[in-house]
Amino acid sequence: MPLAATIVVFLAIYAFGAVAYNNFLSTLVFGDLLTDNAFVIIAAIGATFVILSGGIDLSVGSMIGFVSVAMAALDAHGWHPLLSGLLMVSFGAMFGGVMGALIDACDIQPFILTLAAMFLLRGLCFVITLDSLPINHPFVAAFSDWRIPLPGGGRLSASALVMLASLAAAIALAHFTRFGANVYAIGGDRNSARLMGAPIRRTMVQVYALGGFYGALAGVAYAFYTGSGYPLAAVGVELDAIAAVVLGGTLLTGGVGYVAGTLFGGLIQGTIQTLITFDGRLTSWWTKIVIGALLFFFITAQRSITRSTALMRRPA
């Protein structure tokens, strides 16, 4: 149901654009929408797992910044971007895993621990460089130029494809593995999940590792997308990611939602932004206000749903 609501909202906004502006309903605009929002959506996919498990990860934006800077620095040392990207992605998974282990073992609130991680990663960015560093390797340019043409003049870029592939992998993980089932179980009711024999510690480590992995992958996508590393890159993207997850119909309290919803949540944000740039008269702050209003709408709707189920559960 919430997923359907998200898709309806997305279609409505997109339809509004199509009616109001020429060229909005074209594969060109849609292809660009996918490309421009690829890295945010990749990060949001990781955040979806963390939120489904009942946690939160604030370190995503800094992770993207750090990965882009580190890749640029390694590029200067002659590393192939694919190799440095691989290194970064495994670093992200490890970093996330350590966070998950600390959260579970030391009983620290995810909010505050990932906040500290956010500072740490952003701090590492500044230690590496204070300026924007270019990534000059020809592979990066080739990657951004490579695209599948779509009928109607549009194109599907490589980063959009990476995003769609990570989404497919995430859907398989979330809905068709025991790990995914355990994430939903822990987010739904941690205590019951424990009594039912789900491995809590292992799953928590895996969830945050996955969040870190997707965060780092988003960083790689960002680095390829911009062809540079910048220590202030992607500041606040963790909020965009969380907003995409919530707009995608996932309950912030955990246990309910679809990974696919996050794609539409991210696309809603992207479409609103595109609409506003298309218009030219509207100004950028409307993005934030509209997204805030949508968040309010979704959260209060979710609240009434969870309330009614909570009542069902209370023994008479």
């Binding site: 939160i56 609130q109 505050i112 500290a116 500072f119 740490l120 100004t283 934030k288 209003a293």
Partner: protein, 348 residues
């Protein structure tokens, strides 16, 4: 009716742990120790760190600088300490700072008198707090989520008021509040001290503090003891909103303009951090006013120390993150129990 009861059984006084020194039980001990250590390091790396000079009737020096720069954070953190005490959290303070700045700038341009602008700005931040409070107390939305809405939308609202540009202004009154001085003391330090005194009075000289802590410790038991927990919850967000408004006025007056994108950016994180570093638990139950102030000073003196140490400023965040990790681990219950267990084991 006076109840006089005989003491039928002598109170079997629980034995006090043998030699547990009282000072370790003092709440402010650990935060103060951390602050002391940072300042001690400063004393070594920068000999003139503790010197305070009077230049043109105003005090200068690293210590004054710490207080000066920490003032807006301190104001926000005090409000945050109250919210956290009632088991809430307010992520929107940064956005409220931006809104307050935008409203204030707009009103100054509208030709309103400075004191009226001040009151109107505080009123708007009160409304922001009310919005958060209503979402949390009456719609029963988790505080993190409820305040996230204003955190996201608030900056947009501020930009809308500013019409997307950085609007500047000139105002003797507001400059005096933020960057001026009262006697030899920078006036924003006086403002922060006044906010501290007010918070202290509200928490310790009315029963509100007790009610806030009671709701934070156990909301259901508070209801059964007759506390109107919805009212108390809303009150905490009102306090936090107004505190953010005051900080917004200080910051905006400082740069003499409203920068809706950057005013108070990440201030909520510093404020929450200050509360946690001061020993406050995000699980509520206690409002530590003095300790929160120390938390702010720890954060600010870290920043200042890195500046005076000659270490490049880019190390600022990383040092901060490491200190925070350390403090979090020290506060974590399992770690404390393990460490405590080791310490007791040594005693015969």
């Amino acid at each position: 009716m006076k109840i006089e009861l005989p003491t039928s059984a002598a109170p079997a006084l629980a034995r006090r742990s043998a030699v547990a020194p009282k000072i370790f039980e003092w709440r402010a001990f650990w935060p103060l120790l951390a602050l002391g250590l940072i300042l001690l390091v400063d004393a070594f790396i920068s000999p003139g760190f503790f010197s305070i000079r009077l230049v043109e009737g105003r005090l200068y020096g690293s210590l004054i600088d710490i207080l000066y720069r920490g003032a807006p954070t301190a104001v926000v953190a005090l409000g945050m300490a109250v919210v956290i005490g009632a088991r809430g959290i307010d992520l929107s303070v940064g956005a409220v700072i931006a809104i307050a700045g935008a409203v204030m700038t707009e009103l100054i341009h509208g030709g309103m008198s400075a004191p009226a602008v001040l009151l109107a700005t505080l009123f708007v931040s009160l409304i922001c707090g009310l919005w958060n409070g209503v979402l949390v107390a009456f719609l029963d939305i988790q505080p993190i989520i409820a305040t996230l809405i204003l955190m996201v939308a608030g900056r947009g609202v501020a930009q809308m008021i500013d019409a997307g540009t950085i609007v500047t202004f000139r105002s003797e009154f507001f400059s005096a509040i933020s960057t001026g001085r009262l006697g030899p003391i920078p006036s924003r330090i006086v403002v922060a001290a006044a906010v501290y005194a007010l918070t202290w009075a509200a928490m310790r000289r009315t029963a509100l503090g007790l009610f806030v802590e009671s709701v934070g410790a156990n909301a259901e038991a508070s209801r059964l003891t007759g506390i109107d927990s919805k009212f108390v919850t809303v009150a905490t967000y009102l306090i936090s909103g107004v505190a953010a408004g005051i900080a917004g006025i200080l910051i905006t007056s400082d740069i003499r303009g409203s920068d809706a994108n950057n005013a108070g950016l990440w201030m909520e994180l510093d404020a929450i951090l200050a509360v946690v570093l001061g020993g406050g638990s995000l699980n509520g139950g206690r409002v530590y006013i003095f300790n929160t102030l120390i938390g702010v000073l720890i954060i600010q003196s870290l920043t200042t120390s890195i500046l005076v140490s000659g270490l490049p400023p880019e190390y600022n965040l990383i040092v901060k993150a490491i200190v925070v990790f350390f403090c979090l681990l020290l506060q974590a219950r399992p770690v404390r129990q393990a460490v405590g267990g080791m310490m007791w084991a040594k005693r015969p």
